[in-house]
Symmetry: C2
Subunit: 218 residues, 2 copies
């Protein structure tokens, strides 16, 4: 059964993507951003923010319409322009990683600002399942993973947990306060407000499910 | 065909609910909050913030575990305690409105902070469809409505629009940049990144759909 540890400030991945949402403010994603500068890909909307924080990414990806002219000139050697209107900047960055055979990825800055982008970016984790083996999204409020097989998650007692089904699929859990036994969720709100009872919990599914584990407040 | 105007600072409703997310900062929801104090219901987690802004709601609803002791004592006459663990505070407030025969509702402060709550609160708009005739959710970034019949939306050219299907259902649109003709969305990201072409657009559906219209930045 695949095990998903909780990220730590020392967590690393082959590549870290910084997306266009809120720039990280929680100490955990901030530390991961700082500690992974040499393997950092930045969606173009986030590059101005990142450069203001004196962090230079390895690559900037997007249609570059939101990158200042000054930054476009200064960083032209690390910019990969992808003008496709049918995918968002996060997906462009993930596809770029896939084409470079990246198999582990941390995504930061993917939520906040427009809620339609937040929902799309979280739901897209399911779309990325067949593309890259290990993807963890870390926000200022929690950790998201998409799964499609039975999985075990590191946790702590009373950690807030939410499950989001993309399609109704039978779910069986252990170590959650509101356990599920071959039950399905038809709606996105039905799997929210759960809670871990122990130092790990398990989820059995055979279709796509997105798992949220809350971060402790900073 | 039901028409959904864009809210204005003077928009009003029989009741306005302030939920537990980010306290409004965009001028539009801020003005609506200010202008509707005499018909304001507050979810308990938001009451401390609201009282700091010198606004006293008509009623405070929730399990009250997040309301300071001082506020619990001072405002005990307007507090309705509902300890049900199976519904969130926003739903408790909406059910309270339904039991009081409220037929028009504006929801503020329902997004921001934990993303699982943001997703649940937005998706719950579909759950509220049979309960209350007119509900509009206004955030710092946009306006959300749930529909289940053909509808027309006030808009402006180039306004960003996203459509979220709870279940795959045929959608037909007019006046959108990426038009749909009896097409379905299987995933929550598929209806994002659309754009209005005119001062209104129409959406034909026969099942639940959630519509997002972006606000102009303040």
């Amino acid at each position: 059964m695949k095990y998903y540890p909780m990220p730590t400030p020392n967590s690393t991945a082959q590549t870290v993507i910084l997306a266009n949402g809120d720039f990280p403010t929680h100490p955990l994603p901030k530390a991961i951003l700082q500690n992974n500068q040499e393997r950092l890909i930045c969606c173009d909307g986030a590059a101005n923010d990142l450069l203001e924080h004196k962090i230079t990414p390895q690559r900037i990806i997007g249609d570059c319409d939101s990158l200042s002219l000054k930054n476009q000139q200064q960083y032209q050697e690390i910019i990969t322009k992808i003008p496709d209107q049918n995918t968002n900047d996060l997906t462009k960055a993930v596809l770029f990683c896939q084409s470079n055979a990246i198999q582990s990825l941390i995504i930061l800055g993917a939520t906040g600002k427009r809620e339609d982008h937040t929902i799309a970016n979280i739901a897209l984790l399911a779309h990325y399942l067949p593309l890259i083996e290990n993807i963890t999204m870390i926000t200022d409020f929690g950790v998201f993973n998409a799964i499609q097989h039975p999985s075990e998650f590191e946790s702590y007692p009373r950690q807030q947990v939410s499950l989001f089904s993309l399609f109704p699929t039978p779910i069986t859990t252990t170590n959650l306060k509101y356990p599920l036994n071959q039950q399905s969720h038809s709606y996105w709100w039905q799997g929210t407000l759960n809670e871990s009872l122990a130092n790990s919990f398990t989820i059995k599914v055979n279709d796509m499910l997105i798992i949220y584990r809350a971060l402790k407040k900073d």
